[in-house]
Symmetry: C2
Amino acid sequence: MGKNNNDNNFVKEITNIEDDFAKWYTDIVLKAELADYTDTKGCIAIKPYGYSIWENIQKYMDERFKQTGVENVYFPVLISENLLKKEEDHIEGFAPEVAWVTNAGGEDLDEKYCIRPTSETMFSTLYSKWLNSWRDLPMVYNQWCNVLRWEKETRPFLRSREFLWQEGHTIHETAEEAKARTIQMLEIYAETIENLLAIPVLKGIKTEKEKFAGAEETYTVECLMHDGRALQSATSHYFGQNFTKPFNVKFQNREGKEEYAYQTSWGATTRLIGAIIMAHGDNRGLKLPPKVAPIQVVIIPIAGHKEGVLEKSNELFESLKKDFRVKLDDRDNYSTGFKFNDWEMRGVPIRVEIGPRDIENGVAVVVRRDNGEKETVEISKLNDRIKELLEEIHNNMFNECLKNREVRTTVAYSLDEILKNLNTNQGYVKTMWCESLECENKVKEITGAHSRCIPFEQENLDNKCAICGKTAKKMIVWGRQY
Amino acid sequence: MGKNNNDNNFVKEITNIEDDFAKWYTDIVLKAELADYTDTKGCIAIKPYGYSIWENIQKYMDERFKQTGVENVYFPVLISENLLKKEEDHIEGFAPEVAWVTNAGGEDLDEKYCIRPTSETMFSTLYSKWLNSWRDLPMVYNQWCNVLRWEKETRPFLRSREFLWQEGHTIHETAEEAKARTIQMLEIYAETIENLLAIPVLKGIKTEKEKFAGAEETYTVECLMHDGRALQSATSHYFGQNFTKPFNVKFQNREGKEEYAYQTSWGATTRLIGAIIMAHGDNRGLKLPPKVAPIQVVIIPIAGHKEGVLEKSNELFESLKKDFRVKLDDRDNYSTGFKFNDWEMRGVPIRVEIGPRDIENGVAVVVRRDNGEKETVEISKLNDRIKELLEEIHNNMFNECLKNREVRTTVAYSLDEILKNLNTNQGYVKTMWCESLECENKVKEITGAHSRCIPFEQENLDNKCAICGKTAKKMIVWGRQY
């Protein structure tokens, strides 16, 4: 686990979370060995501990995708300029962030290729080749892959030039079916984030200004971080025929007439690892939700040099291994205190301590990472108790997040009030909104907040836009973002 | 499953395997919907049926990797020119095949980046950053990712500009440990190919001429295809300190002195899908080894419009689903004959037919894809019988491949004889070899065959090089390749 550092007090090296959240975040990423910077500017190396979290997310989501009929594919990373340009809004949105391959195999290329920033254009082209009849529909394909967007400012996991994600792209016979798929996938994201990552989500539709380049409608799940800033955590788009028309994705419908297919896409990225860090972490470091933690239980022998301690630790390891992802830390060149701090910093949900006296009494000491509570458990009941505790830890972490969100969610009736609330609390500010771009831009200009979404769960605060005072029927949520 | 084609005789559209093996291969790839060509020249789109095979291979190998302590990571796809150039043989080997990103985010870049053709340079750079003490060793990292090599001639799965693979990169305290890891991973490849893909492998070490750019030693598993050509199916490299010196990957050893680490890398690619096609396929199409087949059993209702047939088919489906990857083909717009041909062409190992008379008798008809054998099985015994049959099919497919290899493996004592044997049989030609590059080049020039490897299992044919007649202690295997 990295460098040979015997300093028991190394946890002090983490910036205080209240002093400088951004610095605290970077400290965690590096010290918990989730990722590191590389010579490729703006791109990170995801280390085993971080990647293992991603594997757990992948496994969970992929199973749920497949239950709804999603099939995985893999399409080329290079997209020709010609293809990328076919849908106008799309190229306008992505062109500034694209990386171009201009030379390959020792020769300058006649037509340059971009590294995919997203693959709507590639999927649409291939669908147009494969689609003939309504009987071929739906096509519900997804790929797990890397993408590249040349961001000016980057931050590990949250905004990296290269990142990993899944991108689902589907085509359907009817607009209704495509819209239902858009929502269905959003619900899978919401369920994953709440049930696996223990973060409550806000679900809604993006405004015209904030929607995906080329989409008819963009749906989002938004999460609130520890410091009250929002993180757009996954999105699902309904395209209508915006791509299928320029890309000529058509089929013979049940009436024997040609029709353009209806399309969706939806994606979730390694940004979710950033969400975990920022939603749950504290001054002791990372705090991992049990269901996604690469190590759920760490066993630490106390006085490991004494007779029987390592043997018993190994016995516990073998027994716990049957039910949990467990690690035995039997390193002899680190003190017990260092190990406690180290594994807390790495966010392992449960620590099991086992020493000579515990062995005599047939017990072990169990310590929760989420609230520090200690209890003594009979060894014969250890697996059962840990099962319960992991569930409790998950629920407690979810509730802590929810509480933070509730505390930081306010209502406002004027631009001044939006600004004041954000400056006090960050968080979500709910207002009524007249649906004009002008008002949305004004909020951004004055407060620095973007609209998060128009939530599915609407409340009727009053009937006036908080910004311009005109008639308003929709409640919107504002928040500063990562 | 693609186009709405009611032609029962479509299997005839596949080129005869003996007439034109290359054309037959492409037909299978396209018609079984494993992959398709794309607008990105030399890059394929892997379709659900093909990708699903890859997922099965990944799952199998990844589990075995992890059992030996491998940890997965993800490092950047872009490698700066400066990094790529640090190891001389390496850049010499890869430079001609590299694709360069020269413009990104709307600007020409000061330093260009290549898309990784392989990641020795990236891993070495990061290892140099992370490694301090012998206590940090070994680091045994692997990534599942895409790579790009700008090949002039491409063929789906076998030689694609972009392909998917895993690349393991490890560093060790001693040369012995690194060498042991190199062999350990080769053995996992061999076991995977034999046990999962039902293809016998030839294991050995590559010659100096054929080894990986920058390696001390390259080990290989070679497979013989249906037509007698060889396919290098996975490789494992021992680097010694060839990269760790220029990349400054050093550590404090147990004596407190600085030392450069010892390194390995090893990879297997989507080329394995090509191996499956070419090792097992026949004139009816693809023939999938049961353990890797996305669909192991297909159920085809006979006279599905008759009362009770679809119900019984669904019942069978639910019951078989518990033990196998199973598909019920209840399409009503295709004839039974079409379905038989279609699923045979797609290589599904077992077909189950169920019609009104079968239902009356409490039986189903089971047909093997590998040899066409039919049997009637009591429905109560169906799961057990299919379990046995899948095992038998695997063994039979392995043995068929082995027989093909045995028939096509010959011994030669002169260059003329090598040429004659290859022209008769293709296959492997064993000879003694004096270990000179000159003789190796001569074989290539005269026969078009490359050395496959110096097999681990040596035979003492005589003591003279078959090419030059000088003293020879090593037996080598030659073969024309894909």
